[in-house]
Symmetry: C2
């Protein structure tokens, strides 16, 4: 199993403002691109995210992951609505245990989402690719994408794609 | 007076590691570009930086600012070596007072450097342009480029320039 990150941040590196506020993202001009999201989701075999991220996704009322299996890192069972179109289950496992479970199920490429989950998978050395879409705004505080590490992580730039509306998408491969 | 920022950061937004460590920057492959530094310095009329940044620059033993006047934000007098090739003076002023002093001296375009100085000039609404050169490395902790704000700051992307060695230079204009 190897993990990829696909996420949007402010220029100062936050994935959400205080209290999870996403107005800086949802209120911004999205242009006419999906920023490769559909193609990226099609490339993964499963998703892993924290409970906060899952609850946020559910609250949007939109389901964008089709029937990809979703592992929600939580000790509480999920309260899925009737007619829920996806496949989601909660589990309370470390990143390496999640990786082992994915291997057992033959799930090779996993999309990890949410600040804490991304940071823990990075620290565990399980992230191979990072795709960041950076918006041209400083929000000053909130939930950071990155966090403390035990050692530097070297990356290689795969591509940098600027969009008409000033968003930039950079793709990196983890090399160490 | 209007200020510009020209600085390098890690992908996780640090301008230096813990204790000011710059190995991630000075030890990285710089490629064969100066990343527009000489042209940028030529475009400014003066520099403003904090005491830590100034002391760091002095410790490098290299003087890259020619005879541009440098305002060092410090309450202590500078201890300049004999034969110091530049023009530097310490002053203990707020960003707006620095701006007023620059206006009085006819210094229009100012290069602000160092984390605290950049953040205070951003909060004071004095920064018009931000040029960030981002290296493909995560260092986990250290001195962040950006800090808390009273309100979001909207930017416009001027250009995004990827370099052969994986460094990316993004230039933004402050729009609000």
């Amino acid at each position: 199993m190897h993990a990829s990150v696909y996420i949007a941040t402010s220029l100062d590196g936050f994935i959400a403002g205080e209290d999870g506020d996403l107005e800086w993202l949802t209120g911004a001009d999205p242009g006419d691109s999906d920023y490769g999201f559909a193609e990226f989701v099609a490339s993964v075999d499963a998703l892993v995210m924290g409970r906060n991220t899952f609850d946020f996704v559910m609250a949007t009322g939109e389901w964008v992951y089709g029937d990809k299996p979703i592992f929600v890192l939580s000790h509480r069972p999920l309260d899925l609505p009737n007619g829920f179109p996806g496949r989601a289950e909660s589990m309370e496992l470390s990143p390496h245990a999640v990786a082992a479970e994915c291997d057992r199920r033959g799930l090779d490429h996993v999309y990890v989402d949410g600040g804490e989950t991304i940071q823990s998978f990075l620290r565990a050395g399980l992230v191979r690719r990072i795709i960041i879409t950076r918006l041209p705004v400083l929000i000053g505080s909130g939930i950071p994408l990155f966090g403390p590490l035990r050692a530097d992580i070297d990356l290689a730039l795969v591509r940098s794609t600027p969009y008409e509306n000033g968003w930039i998408q950079d793709e990196y491969e983890v090399v160490s």
